[in-house]
Amino acid sequence: MPKDTTVKCGACKKVFLSDKEYLKHTCITGFTPTDVEHFDKLSGGRFSKVSASAIKRGEAKK
């Protein structure tokens, strides 16, 4: 049996014909699956933006 190329989004449950279409869709988060904001919202808002200069100063630690 040929590989099924459809992709179901686990967040909004919509089905797309390809990965490319899936990656471009605007999900229930209001963002696409390639947006870090999408990742953040689905992860419960655990991330905060830190500037590159703050990272260099050591203000963003693991």
């Binding site: 049996m1 459809t6 179901k8 990965d19 947006d35 689905l42």
Partner: protein, 167 residues
């Protein structure tokens, strides 16, 4: 910026992809996002295998993703065991997809760790030392819960998927 990561699950003979799964519920059917109470496991039998991958959908300015680690936290019901193909040594390369089964998994022959492994236990490109420097996917993570005839209740636990990100 940070990379954007999701967990995908693959089901059925067609290797149908469910992207960005929100749970890893396991039961007596081969499906993502299943409702366990609707698909209970007969004591002594197994759940269907889960075939999952870690996917990087955007690098977000990062240069590298590597050091993939997976483990479970929380106890299983009764004497059930959680098996996986994830391992920190003797990694046999990327497993090719096979339709998920509920008989004893031949791919998942290790015990799922219950704390963070010391080193990577899921490969990228067939090697534990592999990495992604652009969007892409990990090797398959395969896991299954095998129950004992005396087990009378299910359980809830958490799957952990961890990676290192280099900016």
């Amino acid at each position: 910026m940070a990379a954007t990561i999701q967990i995908d699950e693959y089901n059925s003979v067609g290797e149908t992809k469910s992207a960005n799964i929100t749970n890893s519920n396991m039961g007596s059917t081969d499906a993502s996002d299943l409702v366990p109470v609707n698909f209970p496991v007969v004591p002594g039998e197994n759940t269907y295998e889960k075939w999952q991958k870690v996917e990087v959908t955007a690098m977000g300015g990062s240069s590298r993703i590597d050091n993939l680690k997976v483990w479970r936290t929380g106890a299983l019901g009764g004497s059930a065991v959680h098996v996986t193909n994830a391992r920190i040594a003797d990694y046999g390369g990327a497993d090719a997809f096979a339709t998920p089964i509920a008989t004893d998994s031949t791919v998942a022959d290790q015990t799922m760790p219950t704390s963070e492994p010391a080193t990577a236990n899921l490969g990228i490109g067939g090697a534990l030392a592999g990495n992604l420097e652009a969007t892409g996917l990990s090797d398959y993570l395969v896991h299954q819960i095998q129950t004992d005839a005396g087990d009378v209740a299910g359980s809830t636990s958490m799957m952990n998927y961890q990676y290192d990100e280099t900016s």
